[in-house]
């Protein structure tokens, strides 16, 4: 079975890295994974999108066609990609204003706020988001996600990033129970 993720937001939020870690976690778990991206010419501030496809089988087409999970951290990305969302779930940051015209099932979670105020570092919002996506999708286990995060993050930031990942997993658990 093919599981498709679309991670969207603003350049500089680290969503590309979150997508890479998600794909690496899937590979650690013995699955196939492909990650693609699209971004504007700006290094920061422009629109940014990363996609991850995970499957136990061969992946021929690398892009998301009908994402099972759309993550949108900004109003712009929510408006752009929310409209295209079909069967899958939308996960937005709680700073995003919901639009009644966007009909797909949506959960709103304080991802940016958790990073800034609970963990105390805005830059780990991508790892919080990774925890949310991993937790809600269940595509890989929390243990494997931790291992994948530790493989990628710079030395000295391990503890911070694991804290962020766990905070994301907790947000996911709460959303699932709600």
């Amino acid at each position: 079975m093919r599981t498709e993720f679309r991670l969207s937001g603003s350049g500089g939020q680290g969503l590309l890295l979150a997508g890479i870690v998600l794909a690496e976690a899937a590979i650690l778990d013995g699955k196939n994974a492909v990650q693609t991206q699209s971004y504007g010419p700006e290094a920061r501030g422009g629109s940014s999108k990363a996609e991850v496809v995970v499957s136990a089988e061969d992946i021929d087409y690398p892009k998301a066609t009908d994402p099972d999970f759309l993550l949108a951290l900004t109003n712009d990305s929510y408006k752009t990609y929310g409209k295209l969302q079909g069967k899958g779930l939308i996960i937005v940051d709680s700073s995003v204003c919901l639009d009644p015209d966007i009909k797909a099932r949506t959960v709103s979670l304080p991802i940016l706020d958790t990073a800034a105020n609970v963990i105390g570092k805005k830059v780990v919002a991508n790892i919080v988001a990774l925890g949310v996506l991993g937790g809600i999708s269940g595509v890989v286990s929390p243990e494997i996600l931790e291992k994948a995060v530790l493989n990628r993050v710079p030395k000295g930031t391990e503890e911070l990033n694991i804290k962020a990942l766990r905070a994301g997993l907790e947000l996911a658990a709460k959303a699932k129970n709600a």
Binding site: I20, A23, E24, I27, N32, A33, V34, Q35, T36, Q37, S38, Y39, G40, P41, I59, D60, Y61, P62, K63, T65
Partner: protein, 377 residues
């Protein structure tokens, strides 16, 4: 057992180049190829190789030609605008028979276009961008693992035939990350240049009997050798004799023509009994593969022919498949370039339909599926 890794296309090109013996890179960073220069700048100093960031792409290709003359395995990487600047010296590499590898990670053009957007618009430029009849080999990877394999192959062909070889990647293949298991490095075949036995009586452009490829001495190692972009005779010195110039052009072209059956590389899927044959390369072939599989699942006899050598084009295998197919569809991210070669090869044996796209977004499989099914019913 080599482990599975998430790897980017550009990274795989670089690792392939290193596995083939790359020890000199000169380039000018340009999206979407920059990761290649970046990784070369990290890896080459570790193995005693050289990385130079040049002032522009003209300087870059000039530098790799110079390095190759001294015996280095040399490469540059670029995208459309830089590739345009390199054209004159691709001709120089071809006529002076100095092996080089160029990786062109295509983006949309013309001119600077959009740096981060997908296109496959350099098919014809890769073949005929520089003036005059000239030999060139162009390879098109269709996934990340092939970026590794075909870059090795590019070096081997360059060394073997003494020609410029272009790896024609694109934004999607270059930036995509896939699960890759690299081969055991001991199993990789690497071609090294054959050097002449002695400087005495060395004629740098005297072709050997069978291959038509002269032996190449490293410059500065005691061999007398004149290198020029002018038409030359066996000594390498310029000639004004039309016949000598003509013989040189014919020999240069024949090197690649003769090698075509050996360097030929392509993949097929469900192509043996298909009514509708899709011919696609690079990133478009990923969409085409998905479309062909979906068509088969719906009971439509579709198949795929995916050239990996696109210049010279693998004519014979396509001609055989075309004789059996009812229709041929050619999806590509340009307004119709490779299709011209396919029309020539197929020569009316089956109708050839163009499926062109230039909105910078990779074909969705259903766009190709629609073309497959639409015409079959």
């Amino acid at each position: 057992m080599p482990e599975a890794k998430l790897m980017q296309g550009n990274e795989a090109c670089t690792l392939g180049a290193l596995a083939a013996g790359l020890n000199f890179f000169a380039g000018y960073p340009i999206t979407p190829s920059t990761e290649i220069a970046e990784l070369c700048s990290e890896e080459l100093p570790k193995i005693g190789g050289k990385f130079i960031q040049m002032e522009d792409e003209i300087g870059s290709i000039a530098a790799i030609i110079g390095a190759s003359l001294t015996g280095r395995k040399a490469m540059t990487a670029t995208s459309g605008p830089g590739f345009s600047l390199m054209q004159e010296l691709i001709g120089y590499s071809a006529i002076s028979e100095v092996p080089i590898v160029i990786i062109n990670v295509q983006r949309v053009g013309p001119s600077t276009g959009m740096p981060t957007s997908l296109a496959q618009g350099d098919v014809m430029q890769a073949r005929w961008g520089t003036h005059g009849d000239h030999p060139v080999v162009v390879l098109a990877p269709g996934n990340v693992r092939e970026c590794f394999d075909l870059t090795i192959k590019a070096f081997n062909i360059a060394e073997d035939l003494r020609v410029p070889v272009i790896v024609l990647s694109d934004e999607t293949i270059g930036h995509m990350r896939e699960k890759v298991v690299l081969p055991d490095y001991k199993s990789i075949k690497v071609v090294n240049r054959k050097a002449p036995a002695t400087p005495a009586g060395y004629l740098p452009y005297k072709a050997d009997q069978d291959g038509g490829v002269p032996l190449m001495a490293p410059f500065g190692a005691g061999y007398r050798w004149h290198v020029t972009g002018l038409s030359h005779d066996e000594t390498g010195f310029p000639t004004n004799k039309g016949e000598v110039a003509g013989d040189l052009i014919k020999r240069l072209m024949r090197k690649v023509e003769k090698a075509e059956p050996v360097i030929r590389d392509y993949a097929t899927e469900s192509a043996d009994d298909c009514d509708v044959l899709v011919v696609a390369f690079g990133s478009s072939a990923m969409s085409a593969t998905s479309a062909v599989r979906q068509a088969r699942a719906q009971g439509v006899k579709a198949g795929l022919f995916r050239p990996k050598t696109i210049w010279p084009f693998p004519e014979e295998p396509l001609r055989e498949l075309a004789a059996k197919a009812k229709r041929i569809i050619v999806p590509e991210m340009n307004l119709g370039q490779l299709v011209l070669e396919i029309e020539r090869v197929v020569a009316g044996k089956a109708p050839v339909e163009r499926l062109s796209k230039v909105n910078c977004e990779l074909f969705r499989p259903e766009e190709i599926l629609k073309a497959i099914i639409g015409g079959s019913k």
